[in-house]
Symmetry: C2
Subunit: 191 residues, 2 copies
């Protein structure tokens, strides 16, 4: 009852989903393969028929979650809130979604580029290459939706990623909100 190729693909998806959530919450070192597999309703032994190592899982999960979150936040869906100012609707939605309390809470996972920045800086080249690729992808998308200079796009990305990362480290809810708001207006002023 478990041999079809579709079943393997489903297992893989469950592992990736569990992994990206756990990695975002606890980082690389504090996330065990046991925990990931348990969250995916399997046991440790099954892991190695899907991924060859924990590091490979890390990069795969990073890409999987990064692309998915971005696709969601850019909003291919219909229900757009009313446009503010002169910014294109999709960018507004992206910034609001990204720099939100819900995102930094990590309840539904979180963007690996923000949740794992320093975690990734400590890993080896393949992991950092993966992060670089993801960031360049984000850079491309951001350049499409907002017609500004490249340095300003970079500033906006730093305020999004950095804003979320710092807000998550901070303990004080008021300062968290202040940080998120400051980054939102900082980006708006760049448009």
């Amino acid at each position: 009852m478990a041999w079809s190729p579709e079943h393997k693909q489903q297992s893989r998806e469950r592992i990736l989903k569990a992994a990206s959530r756990l990695f975002a919450a606890r980082g690389f070192e504090q996330t065990g393969i046991d925990q990931v597999m348990a969250a995916a309703d399997m046991t440790r032994g099954a892991f190695y028929s899907h991924f060859k190592s924990k590091a490979e899982l890390y990069t795969e999960a990073m890409t999987w979650a990064g692309i998915r979150r971005f696709r969601y936040a850019l909003g291919a869906d219909s229900a757009d809130q009313p446009t503010v100012d002169s910014a294109p609707p999709s960018l507004n939605r992206l910034v609001e979604t990204y720099l939100s309390e819900e995102h930094i809470s990590g309840q539904h996972g979180g963007c690996p580029m923000a949740f794992l920045v320093t975690d990734i800086a400590q890993r080896d080249e393949p992991v950092r290459s993966c992060y670089t690729r993801l960031l360049k992808g984000m850079l491309g998308k951001m350049s499409e939706v907002a017609q500004v200079d490249r340095p300003q796009v970079l500033q906006n990305m730093v305020m999004m990623i950095g804003g979320v990362a710092i807000a998550r480290a901070v303990n004080d809810p008021e300062l968290q909100q202040e940080l998120l708001n400051a980054c939102k207006t900082g980006i708006q002023d760049n448009l």
Copy 2:
């Protein structure tokens, strides 16, 4: 030959110095007490007469390194480079020093607020309180040296801390430089 109070203080300093460098490079989990003590020319057994746990060492080292780096980067010394634009000299120096290749290389340690952001978000309340305190201290200093609105000070801090953190995660030297430069000009434009 090892019992004077000054000697204990010196040992403690050696431990803190080694710890902040190692924590910055490898993070909390991947830094062992063995390694810290070896770098401080002692063995593991001696550690617990200075700190009660690894977590306590982490907060002490974070504060120690954060304050020291900031004091250095704000530059209480005499050799200031010529002033650019209208910004106060000390802020220029701070930004140039902070958003430099030398800093992100981590050769001489690095600012724990940038090198350990997501590491800290994964730890418990005492650690996050320590980070929050440090950030508020930095916020105060930044408000003194640059006369701008609080949201803009926050944006500048995010571009400094976030810029360094992201540049460190990225693999591509050109993109690293682009990020650092974009953050520098972003801050200049805020003054």
